[in-house]
Structures are given as C-alpha cells and as structure tokens.
C-alpha cells in the first residue's frame, strides 16, 4: 500500500492552462504539505495543512490554490500555468505539526509547461 500517493506522475501542458494534482495519504497523519523541487533539486515549501486547516502559505503566486477536503487529502490546483511552473511537485505528510517523526513523501509529479 502506497503511504502517500499523488497523481498524475507526469503532466505536460501548455501555457495558460489550468491543472490539478491530487494527493492522498493513508497513514492517518494530521499534517500535509506541498513542496516544489526545481531543476537544481532545491525543495521549497509551498503550503501546509493541519487537519484541513491552512497553517503555512509561503510566498507562492495566488495562481496556486491548495484544497484539503479532509485530512487525508491535499490537492493542488494551478491556474494560468507559466513556463516557470515547470518543476517536480511533492506532496508529503507528517504525523502532526511537530514533524518529530519526519515527513513521508509521495513520489512526485513532474510538471512540464510548454
């Protein structure tokens, strides 16, 4: 059983389109995250939700909108995609906000905007 699963694994789309990435965790964790990894492998936090409540919202364009229908799901919707949005997006979860047990990551969604 996959602990943190995100779909799709690959996403190729044209500039200006709107796309969504879905994430689900079956670990019973309270906290979920979206990270963006650029071509230089730098991982940057985008959002964090704890029990469906937004707790971290880093400096991210408002074209990015996370949605957490329940604590097991955290989806990411991106409007008006730009070339610079091309990256690998990782969903992660932790047991709670203390993150003492570390993060469990999904396998990533490689987004390519053409």
């Amino acid at each position: 059983d996959t602990a943190v699963s995100q779909t799709p694994k690959y996403l190729v789309t044209q500039m200006g389109n709107d796309k969504s990435i879905k994430c689900e965790q079956n670990l019973g964790h309270d906290t979920m995250y979206w990270y963006k990894q650029d071509s230089k492998k730098f991982l940057k936090i985008m959002f964090s939700y704890n029990n469906k409540e937004l707790i971290i919202n880093e400096t991210v364009p408002n074209r990015f909108s996370p949605k957490s229908p329940d604590k097991a799901h955290l989806n990411l919707h991106i409007n008006s995609l730009e070339l610079g949005d091309s990256a690998v997006y990782f969903c992660a979860s932790s047991q709670d906000r203390s993150q003492a047990g570390g993060y469990t990551f999904g396998s990533g969604t490689r987004l390519t905007v053409v």
Binding site: L43, A92, Q99, G102, T104
Partner: protein, 110 residues
C-alpha cells in the same frame, strides 16, 4: 532563508569506501533531519537528530550535530552501489516546518 546547505554538492566514491557529507545552517534549530532521494523518486526519511543530541546511529548511517558550529554531518560506512542518491538535510525553526538544502549527489561506483 532558513535552509540547510549541503557540502559537497557532488561526491563520487568506490564501493566499500565511506561517504561523508555535511550540512550547515544559519539559525538555532529544534531538530535536523536527513533524507535520501533516489533519481525520479520522492524523499525518504533517514534519521532525525534533536538539538540536545550530538550523535545518532542507524545501521550504516552515523549523524553528528554540532550546534555551536551550526553544522551536521552524515557518514555512510561501507558504501554500496544502492546508496547512490541525493542526500538532503532539513532544518526547522522551532515549531515551524522543515527547510531543505539543495542536497549532495552521491555516486557509489561498483
């Protein structure tokens, strides 16, 4: 920003040798974690060390933390080809999320 920075950026060693990578950070932390990322995959949590700990072991992994120097090291002993991956440290601000560095790319040559 409050991120760890790994050194070296890339490391290539022969199988059986030890690999050491370092992480430096900027401000006081509560915890520091190390992760491994195989090519095309997500990150895998390896080990967490708390600010009041100086050393932790897990199998062939040894992590040290020097809070006075704001640095940590990850030692992989008796490396194997399967250890080829990128290794990231992640540091937190007290009660905040973890910030990742850009990683050390380790290649273990069989």
């Amino acid at each position: 920003s409050q991120q760890g920075e790994e050194d070296p950026q890339a490391l290539s060693i022969q199988e059986g040798e030890n690999a050491t990578m370092n992480c430096s950070y900027k401000t006081s932390i509560n915890n520091l974690q190390w992760y491994r990322q195989n090519s095309g995959r997500g990150l895998v949590h390896l080990i967490l060390i708390r600010s009041n700990e100086r050393e932790k072991h897990s199998g062939r992994l040894r992590v040290t933390l020097d809070t006075s120097k704001k640095s940590s090291s990850l030692l992989i002993t008796a490396s194997r080809a399967a250890d080829t991956a990128s290794y990231f440290c992640a540091t937190d601000l007290f009660g905040n999320q973890f910030y990742f560095g850009t990683g050390t790319s380790l290649t273990v040559i069989p």
